[in-house]
C-alpha cells in the first residue's frame, strides 16, 4: 500500500483513531470478498479501490483541487451530479456505513437517530474520513428529518447547501424540483466560478447517462439464471460508483459487464443451481456496510438485485439528452430524478410497482426488506411492501438492523429460516 499518512495529516485527520479504522478494514475485505470463489477477474479494479479506499481516490481529488476544481459531497441519489460536473466540479458520495463512526456522531445526535446519519456526522466531526475532509461543499437534501437536523449541525463545520426535495409527486412538485435544480446550478456556478451552459450541461448529462447504462448492463447480467457475479461483488461496484470518476466508473462497469456476458454464454455461475435468488430492498447500504449481503450469501442465498439507493434507484431511468436550452434541460433532469421512488414521498406506490417488476425480471425466489434502525419511513412502508408482495405470491422477510455486529446471530437465524422456507 502506498503511504498516504502525509496526505491524511495535511487533511487534519485524527491519525491515531484513523489507524484503528485502517487496521480492521483489510480483515473485513478478506472475509467478505476475497474468500469468495470464482470471482470475475474484472473485480480486481474494485478490490484495489477498496483496499486503499482512503488513499487512491482522495489523492486524485486533492490533485484536482490543486488545479482549482471544487469537490461537492452528497448524501442522496436525488442530488443531480450533472449540474456539478457541468461546472467542472467533482461529486463524491459521503454516506457513512460503519459502526466505527457512530460513537462520534452520538456525541451530538440522539442515540435514536439512524446509524447512517450518525456515522456521517461522526465521520466529519471525528475527522476520520478523508472524503469528509476533502469536500469543499456538502450538498444536503430534505429526504428525512434525521438528515435535516444533522445538516444544521454539519453546516456549522463546513459550507452546506440544502436542496428541498418535494414530498409528493404532483405536476407542481416536478416543477418545484426543476426550480430547485436551477437554483442549485446558480450556487454551483458561484462556488466554482464556471458558468453552466447548455453545451457543458448536455455533455455532463451524457456522461452520467453512460455511467447509468454501464451499471445497468452489470445488473442485467444478474437477471440470468446462470448467476455470473455475487451480490457482494455487485454491491461493492455500486457503492464505489458513488465515489469514482463517472467516466472511469462507466469504463470499469462495461469491462465487468463484458466478462459477465461471456460467463453467461459459457454457463459460468458463482453459485450452485439450488441457491435461492434474493432481492434486497430498503434503506441504502453505504460503504463498508456488507453485513446483510454477507449473511445472505453464507446462508444458502444469493443477492441478485438491490432495490435501493445503492442499487437500481441509482441508475434506472435516463435523462432526455435531446434538450438544448438550460430551462428544458433542468426540466428533463427533474423529470428523471422525480421518477426515483423513495419512502420520503407520499404515496410511494411506485416502489411497490418497481419491486413487483424487479422480482419478475431478476427471477427472484424471495425478497428481504431491510431498514436501518430508527428509519421510521422505510420501517412503516414494510407493511404495504410485505402485503403487496405476499398478494403476488412472493415470499418476503422484513428485518431491521444497524451497523453493529451484535445482532448478526439473530439475523443469521431469521435469514437462514427464510431461505429454508423457500426450499
Amino acid at each position: 500500500m502506498a503511504d498516504y499518512r502525509k496526505m491524511w495529516e495535511e487533511l487534519g485527520m485524527d491519525m491515531e483513531n484513523h489507524d484503528n479504522l485502517c487496521q480492521v478494514l483489510p480483515t473485513a475485505v478478506g472475509d467478505v470478498f476475497l474468500s469468495q470463489e470464482n470471482r470475475p477477474n474484472a473485480m480486481d479494479f474494485w478490490d484495489l479501490v477498496i483496499s486503499e479506499v482512503h488513499g487512491i481516490r482522495p489523492a486524485e481529488l486533492i490533485e484536482a483541487q490543486k488545479e482549482g476544481r471544487k469537490v461537492f459531497g452528497t448524501f442522496c441519489v436525488y442530488v443531480p451530479d450533472e449540474v456539478v460536473i457541468a461546472a467542472n466540479g467533482i461529486v463524491t458520495g459521503l454516506c457513512g456505513g460503519s459502526q466505527f463512526w457512530v460513537p462520534d456522531g452520538e456525541k451530538v445526535l440522539p442515540k435514536s437517530t439512524c446509524p447512517l446519519v450518525k456515522a456521517s456526522v461522526g465521520a466529519r466531526l471525528g475527522r476520520t474520513c478523508p472524503f469528509f475532509r476533502i469536500a469543499d461543499m456538502y450538498v444536503g437534501e430534505t429526504t428525512c428529518d434525521g438528515k435535516k437536523k444533522a445538516y444544521e449541525i454539519l453546516g456549522e463545520d463546513v459550507p452546506m447547501y440544502i436542496m428541498d426535495v418535494p414530498q409528493m409527486k404532483r405536476e407542481k412538485d416536478i416543477l418545484k424540483w426543476k426550480d430547485e435544480i436551477a437554483q442549485f446550478a446558480k450556487k454551483v456556478e458561484e462556488f466554482t466560478g464556471v458558468e453552466i451552459t447548455p453545451e457543458n450541461l448536455a455533455k455532463s448529462i451524457h456522461i452520467i447517462n453512460e455511467k447509468r447504462k454501464a451499471l445497468a448492463r452489470v445488473y442485467n447480467c444478474r437477471k440470468s439464471k446462470c448467476l455470473p457475479i455475487s451480490g457482494r461483488d455487485a454491491l461493492l461496484m455500486t457503492q464505489i460508483s458513488f465515489f469514482d470518476d463517472p467516466e472511469r466508473c462507466a469504463q470499469m462497469c462495461n469491462r465487468l459487464a463484458d466478462e459477465l456476458e461471456e460467463r453467461i454464454k459459457n454457463g459460468v455461475s458463482v453459485v450452485s443451481a439450488d441457491t435461492k435468488r434474493i432481492l434486497v430492498t430498503g434503506t441504502p447500504l453505504a460503504v463498508p456496510n456488507w453485513k446483510l449481503h454477507n449473511i445472505i450469501e453464507t446462508s444458502g442465498g444469493a443477492v441478485v438485485c438491490e432495490e435501493m439507493c445503492t442499487g437500481t434507484r441509482y441508475f434506472e431511468n435516463l435523462v432526455d439528452e435531446t434538450k438544448t436550452t438550460l430551462d428544458e434541460q433542468f426540466m428533463a433532469l427533474s423529470e428523471r430524478y422525480m421518477k426515483t421512488n423513495c419512502a420520503c414521498f407520499t404515496p410511494n406506490t411506485g416502489r411497490i410497482d418497481d419491486l413487483l417488476r424487479l422480482a419478475k425480471e431478476y427471477q427472484v425466489d424471495g425478497v428481504i426488506d431491510c431498514s436501518l434502525k430508527f428509519c421510521c419511513l422505510y420501517d412503516t412502508e414494510k407493511y404495504s411492501v410485505s402485503r403487496a408482495l405476499k398478494e403476488a405470491g412472493i415470499p418476503v422477510l422484513s428485518l431491521e438492523t444497524d451497523y453493529e455486529d451484535a445482532d448478526a446471530g439473530q439475523l443469521r437465524t431469521r435469514i437462514g429460516a427464510f431461505i429454508e422456507m423457500l426450499s
Binding site: 445482532d407 446471530g409 439473530q410 437465524t413 431469521r414 429460516a417 429454508e420 422456507m421
Partner: protein, 261 residues
C-alpha cells in the same frame, strides 16, 4: 454399516435438548441438560452421553439446531430452529397445518405452517421481553421457580408491569415488593406482561389454524390458558412440546438420509 438412528440436537440459550429416533421416526431417547456457558462443551458431553446409550457416530446421523447449532462439530447439517420447530410440532401435534408459538430462553417465535411447510414467521428482536429469560429473572426476584410463579399467578390480579425491558421491569417488580404488594399479584403481572408481548407479535401473522405452544414454557398451564384468552383460541401443548426443535432436527436428519438413498 448403515445408518440406524437419527439424532436431533437443539442447543438453546438455556437448555440443550436431544432426541434420538429410529429409522421409522419413532422417538427412542430424550435427553435434557442445561446449556451452561459453553455450547461446545455441551455438545461434547451430549456426544459422550449418546455413546453410553450405544449410539455410535458412524451409525447415526446428527442435525443440530438452536442458537448453538454451529457449535456441534459432529452434526452433518445445521438447520435453523424455525424449520425444526415447525417440523417437530407437526409430528408432535399430529397435524400439518398449525401455528407454533415457541417461547424459548432468549427468543420467542411464532411460525405459520401450512401443509407441513413454513409459510411465515415472526421473532422477537434483541430484547428479552416476552421470553423465558424474562420469566426466569422475575421468578428469581420473587424467590420462586418459574413454574411456581406461573401457578401463583392464578391466584393474583390487579397489578401490571409497564416496562418491556427486563432490567427496568425487574426494578418495577422490586418497587412492587417494596410497596408490600402480594406475591401472587406480582406473579400475575409478570405472566400478563409475557402474554401481552406474545399476543402483539401474533398480530403480525394469520392465526386461523390450530395454535400450539412449544419450548420450555409449554408446561406452564396457567400461562398457556392466559395466552389462549389473549389470542381468542385454544392453545394446545403436549408432553414432548419442549422437544419440538430436537424432534424436528431428528426428522430433518432422517429426510436428508432418505434423500441420499
Amino acid at each position: 454399516m448403515g445408518i440406524e438412528c437419527f439424532v436431533g440436537i437443539d442447543i438453546g440459550s438455556t437448555c440443550a435438548k436431544t432426541v434420538v429416533m429410529d429409522g421409522e421416526g419413532r422417538i427412542l431417547n430424550r435427553l435434557l441438560r442445561p446449556t451452561g456457558w459453553s455450547s461446545v462443551e455441551t455438545a461434547s458431553s451430549i456426544q459422550a452421553q449418546l455413546e453410553t446409550l450405544g449410539i455410535e457416530p458412524d451409525r447415526s446421523m446428527v442435525v443440530s439446531t438452536g442458537y448453538g447449532r454451529a457449535a456441534v462439530p459432529f452434526a452433518a447439517k445445521n438447520i435453523t430452529e424455525i424449520t425444526c420447530h415447525a417440523r417437530g410440532a407437526c409430528r408432535i401435534f399430529g397435524t400439518e397445518d398449525l401455528t407454533v408459538i415457541d417461547i424459548g430462553g432468549q427468543d420467542t417465535k411464532l411460525i405459520s405452517v401450512e401443509h407441513g411447510q413454513v409459510t411465515d414467521f415472526v421473532m422477537n428482536d434483541k430484547c428479552s421481553a416476552g421470553t423465558g429469560r424474562f420469566l426466569e429473572v422475575m421468578a428469581n426476584t420473587l424467590s420462586v421457580t418459574p413454574q411456581q410463579l406461573s401457578d401463583m399467578a392464578r391466584e393474583g390480579g390487579g397489578v401490571s408491569i409497564s416496562s418491556m425491558c427486563t432490567v427496568f421491569a425487574e426494578s418495577e417488580v422490586i418497587g412492587l415488593i417494596g410497596r408490600g404488594e402480594k406475591r401472587e399479584n406480582i406473579a400475575f403481572a409478570v405472566i400478563d406482561s409475557i402474554v401481552k408481548k406474545v399476543a402483539s407479535q401474533a398480530g403480525r401473522l394469520k392465526m386461523d389454524q390450530k395454535v400450539c405452544l412449544t419450548g420450555g414454557l409449554c408446561e406452564f398451564d396457567y400461562l398457556r390458558q392466559r395466552l389462549g384468552q389473549a389470542l381468542h383460541c385454544d392453545v394446545c401443548s403436549a408432553a414432548d412440546g419442549r422437544y419440538a426443535g430436537a424432534a424436528g432436527a431428528a426428522l430433518c436428519a432422517r429426510d436428508s438420509f432418505l434423500k441420499t438413498l
